[in-house]
C-alpha cells in the first residue's frame, strides 16, 4: 500500500481544485459558439444589460449550462464514489450498472405515454427508474452483505442494460415515431439548450445527496473494513447502506434525467482521487465533488469548441472517449483490486 499524501498537501490540493474549478467556470461562460471576452462576461454578471447581445448570451445560455454542469458533475462524481463504496468494487459506475438504462426506460415511457418533451420535467421519473434498475442489478449480481464480485456486478449491469435498452426501449422507439424524436435528443447525453428550470429541478436532489454523502463519509470508512468488523465497531450497517443507496439513486437519477446518459465520470474521478488521497472517504468525497465538475465542465467546453463551427459534440461522447481508456487500462491489470 502506498503511503497517502500528507494532511497539509491534501488540504492544499482541495484549495487548488476549487481554484481550477472557478477558472473553468469563467472559461465556460466565455467560450462557445460565440467567444466573449472575460471582462464582458464579468460585466454581464455584475451589470446585466438585456439589450446587449453578449450579455444575454452569457446570462440566458451560458450561466444555466455552467450551473447544470456543476450540479450534474458533482452528482455523477459523488454517485460513483458512493456506488463503489457500497459495492466495495472499483468498477462500479452508475452507467455500467444499469442505472442509466433504468432512468432511460422510465423517461421513454413517460414521453410515449404523456408526450413530455422537456428534459427539465424528467427528474422524478428518472430517479424512480434508476432506483428500480439499481436494485435489480444489485440483486442479480448476487451481492450479499456488501461484498460484490466486480465481474459479476459488471455482467449483471450489462445483462439488465441489454434487456432494457435492446428489448424494451427499442420496442417503444420503433413503434412510436414521435417518442423516438424526443428521446434521441435526450439520449445523446448533452448539456446544450438547458434552462434554469433544469437547474432548479436537479439542485434539491444534488444538494440532499451531497449532504447525505458527506455525512456518511466517516461511517463508510468503517464499513470498508467489512460488515462484521463494522458491526463490532458499532456501525448500523443496514441503515448506512440504505441511506447510501438512496443518495446514489437521487444523485445519479437526477443527473441522468437532466443531461441524459453521461458515462465514466463516476468511474474515473473516484479512481484518480483515491490514488492521491488514499482510502479515506472523508477526503475522497469532497475531492470527487470538486474534480467531477472539473472533468464534466472541461469536457463540455471541449465539446463546444472541438469541431470549430456551429455543430457541437455531445458531452457524453467526450467523457466516453476520455473515460474508456482509463476503464480498459484498469481492466487490463493483472489482478482487479477490491475496495
Amino acid at each position: 500500500m502506498r503511503q497517502p499524501v500528507p494532511l497539509l498537501a491534501r488540504g492544499t490540493g482541495l484549495l487548488i481544485a476549487a481554484a481550477v474549478l472557478l477558472l473553468l467556470v469563467l472559461t465556460s461562460l466565455a467560450l462557445g459558439n460565440r467567444n466573449i471576452a472575460p471582462p464582458v462576461v464579468l460585466d454581464a454578471l455584475t451589470h446585466y444589460d438585456p439589450t446587449n447581445f453578449d450579455h444575454s448570451v452569457v446570462i440566458t445560455q451560458r450561466v444555466p449550462r455552467t450551473l447544470l454542469a456543476l450540479g450534474v458533475g458533482a452528482a455523477l462524481g459523488l454517485g460513483g464514489t458512493l456506488m463503489q463504496a457500497l459495492t466495495r468494487n472499483p468498477l462500479a459506475d452508475p452507467g455500467l450498472l444499469g442505472v442509466n438504462a433504468g432512468a432511460a426506460l422510465a423517461i421513454v415511457l413517460t414521453i410515449a405515454a404523456f408526450g413530455w418533451t422537456s428534459p427539465a420535467s424528467y427528474a422524478g421519473v428518472g430517479i424512480a427508474g434508476a432506483a428500480v434498475a439499481a436494485f435489480v442489478v444489485y440483486r442479480v449480481s448476487g451481492s450479499v452483505s456488501g461484498q460484490s464480485d466486480p465481474v459479476q456486478l459488471a455482467l449483471a449491469g450489462t445483462a439488465v442494460t441489454a434487456l432494457v435498452e435492446g428489448g424494451l426501449i427499442r420496442a417503444v422507439l420503433v413503434l412510436d415515431y414521435a417518442a423516438f424524436d424526443s428521446f434521441r435528443s435526450w439520449d445523446v447525453g448533452s448539456l446544450s439548450g438547458r434552462t434554469l428550470e433544469s437547474v432548479a429541478q436537479v439542485a434539491p436532489f444534488v444538494g440532499a445527496g451531497l449532504v447525505m454523502a458527506l455525512a456518511l463519509a466517516g461511517t463508510l470508512n468503517v464499513l470498508s473494513l467489512g460488515d462484521q468488523t463494522a458491526t463490532a465497531l458499532g456501525a448500523r450497517v443496514g441503515t448506512v447502506r440504505l441511506v447510501a443507496f438512496v443518495a446514489v439513486t437521487m444523485l445519479s437519477g437526477s443527473a441522468t434525467a437532466a443531461a441524459g446518459p453521461v458515462g465514466f465520470v463516476g468511474l474515473v474521478v473516484p479512481f484518480a482521487v483515491r490514488a492521491f488521497t488514499g482510502p479515506d472517504y472523508r477526503w475522497i468525497l469532497p475531492y470527487s465533488a470538486l474534480l467531477a465538475p472539473i472533468l464534466l465542465l472541461g469536457a463540455d467546453v471541449a465539446a463546444r469548441i472541438m469541431l470549430g463551427d456551429e455543430t457541437e459534440l455531445p458531452v457524453g461522447l467526450v467523457t466516453a472517449l476520455v473515460g474508456a481508456p482509463v476503464f480498459i487500462a484498469l481492466a487490463r491489470r493483472r489482478k482487479l483490486a477490491t475496495l
Partner: protein, 347 residues
C-alpha cells in the same frame, strides 16, 4: 451423464464417427420444432393463409395464388431466419469454445456495437444502399472485435478481461451511435434504428445468398472439427501432446466463426444474444460436457424462428424488429444464468 455413456459409433472404412444418441434425439427434435415454427410463421404472415394451405403450397399442391405468396415472399424470410439462426448458433459455440467461457460470444467482444456503428455510418453519413450497409456492418464488426481481442490479450486471453474490455469499447461506440442518431434526419435515424436492432422484415431471395453460402461451407467443416474443439478446450499442453496443431486449429476456428457472424449480420443486422444463449441451451438439452457446434446451430435456428414468429404476431403488420425479442429473451436468459450461478455459489 447418461447420454454420454450411451454413445453410438459410425464406421465407414478408416473413418469412425462417435456420437451420442441423446444429442441425435435432441437434434431431430430441434429440426422438427424449427420446421413447425417456420410453417406457423408463414401461415401467420397473411390473413388468407393457414397451416394446411402453407403445407400444400410447400409441396407444390393447392391454390396457385397461395403458392405464389408462400414461395415468392414468405418462404425466403422464414429460410433467412433459419439460416441466420444456424450461423449465429454455430458461431456462438465456436467463440465460447475458443475462449473457454460461456460469455465468449461475438456480442460480448463488441462485434454487435461495431457492426451497428458501421451500418449507422453508412446509412446516415454516406447514404449507402443495402449492399454498402451490409459491408459497413461487417467491416465495423470485424474491426471492433479485433480491437477488443488485441486490448484484452495479455499473456493469454482471460474471460473476465475480454468481457470488461468489451464493455468499455461498447460504451464508446454506443455513445457514438447515439450521437449519429441524434444528429441525423429523422427518417434516416429511424431506418438506422431498425437496422441496428436486427430485423428480418423485407428479406427476399436476393438477400439470402451470403448467409446460405457461409452456412453451407462453414457448418460441415466445423462439424468435422468437433473432436479437435473438445481437445483445445482442455489444457494447452494436453492438447498439444495429443497431436492437435494448436495455432492452426485456433486460427481456422476464429476465421470460420467470424465468417458465420459476419454473414448473419450482413443479412439481418446485429441480432443480439442468439450466439450467447443457443450453445448453452443446447448443452443443457444434450447433457454434453461442452458446447457442440451442430446442436448449437440447430438451437439457434429454433430460437430465431420462435422470435420471428413472436415479432410477427405481437404487433399488427409485424413491424417490430426480431432483434427486440432476442434482446428481451436473451437478456432475461443472461439474468437468469447469473442469478442461478450466484445461488449455487452461496450454497
Amino acid at each position: 451423464m447418461s447420454g454420454e455413456l450411451r454413445a453410438g459409433v459410425l464406421r465407414t472404412g478408416p473413418v469412425a464417427l462417435r456420437f451420442s444418441w441423446r444429442a441425435v434425439v435432441v437434434g431431430v427434435a430441434l429440426v422438427a420444432v424449427t420446421t413447425a415454427l417456420s410453417v406457423v410463421a408463414i401461415a401467420a404472415s397473411e390473413p388468407t393463409l393457414d397451416v394446411s394451405k402453407v403445407v400444400l403450397a410447400l409441396v407444390g399442391q393447392g391454390d396457385y395464388y397461395d403458392w405464389l405468396v408462400v414461395t415468392r415472399f414468405q418462404l425466403p424470410r422464414a429460410l433467412t431466419a433459419v439460416l441466420v439462426g444456424l450461423a449465429l448458433g454455430a458461431a456462438g459455440a465456436v467463440f465460447q469454445s475458443l475462449s473457454r467461457n460461456p460469455l465468449g460470444s461475438p456480442d460480448i467482444a463488441g462485434f454487435g456495437a461495431g457492426a451497428s456503428t458501421g451500418a449507422v455510418l453508412q446509412i446516415i453519413v454516406f447514404g449507402g444502399g443495402t449492399a454498402q450497409i451490409a459491408l459497413g456492418c461487417v467491416f465495423g464488426g470485424l474491426a471492433t472485435a479485433l480491437l477488443v481481442y488485441l486490448l484484452a490479450y495479455r499473456a493469454g486471453l482471460q474471460g473476465y478481461r475480454l468481457v470488461l474490455v468489451g464493455i468499455g469499447i461498447n460504451a464508446v461506440l454506443s455513445s457514438l451511435n447515439r450521437f449519429l442518431l441524434s444528429a441525423a434526419d429523422l427518417n434516416l435515424a429511424q431506418q438506422a434504428q431498425v437496422w441496428l436492432t436486427g430485423t428480418l422484415n423485407a428479406r427476399g431471395w436476393p438477400e439470402i445468398w451470403p448467409v446460405a453460402v457461409a452456412v453451407a461451407v462453414a457448418l460441415p467443416v466445423l462439424g468435422l472439427m468437433g473432436a479437435r474443439m473438445r481437445l483445445i478446450e482442455m489444457d494447452d499442453e494436453l492438447a498439444r501432446s495429443l497431436g492437435v496443431p494448436l495455432a492452426r486449429t485456433r486460427a481456422a476456428l476464429l476465421v470460420l466463426g467470424t465468417v458465420l457472424t459476419a454473414a448473419a449480420t450482413a443479412t439481418a443486422g446485429p441480432i443480439a444474444f442468439i450466439a450467447l444463449a443457443a450453445p448453452q441451451l443446447a448443452r443443457r438439452l444434450t447433457g454434453a460436457a461442452s458446447v457442440g457446434v451442430v446442436p448449437s446451430a440447430l438451437m439457434g435456428a429454433a430460437l430465431l424462428a420462435l422470435s420471428d414468429l413472436l415479432a410477427q404476431r405481437v404487433t399488427p403488420g409485424g413491424q417490430l424488429p426480431v432483434g427486440v425479442f432476442t434482446a428481451a429473451v436473451g437478456g432475461g436468459y443472461l439474468v437468469w444464468l447469473l442469478v442461478r450461478a450466484n445461488r449455487r455459489r452461496r450454497r
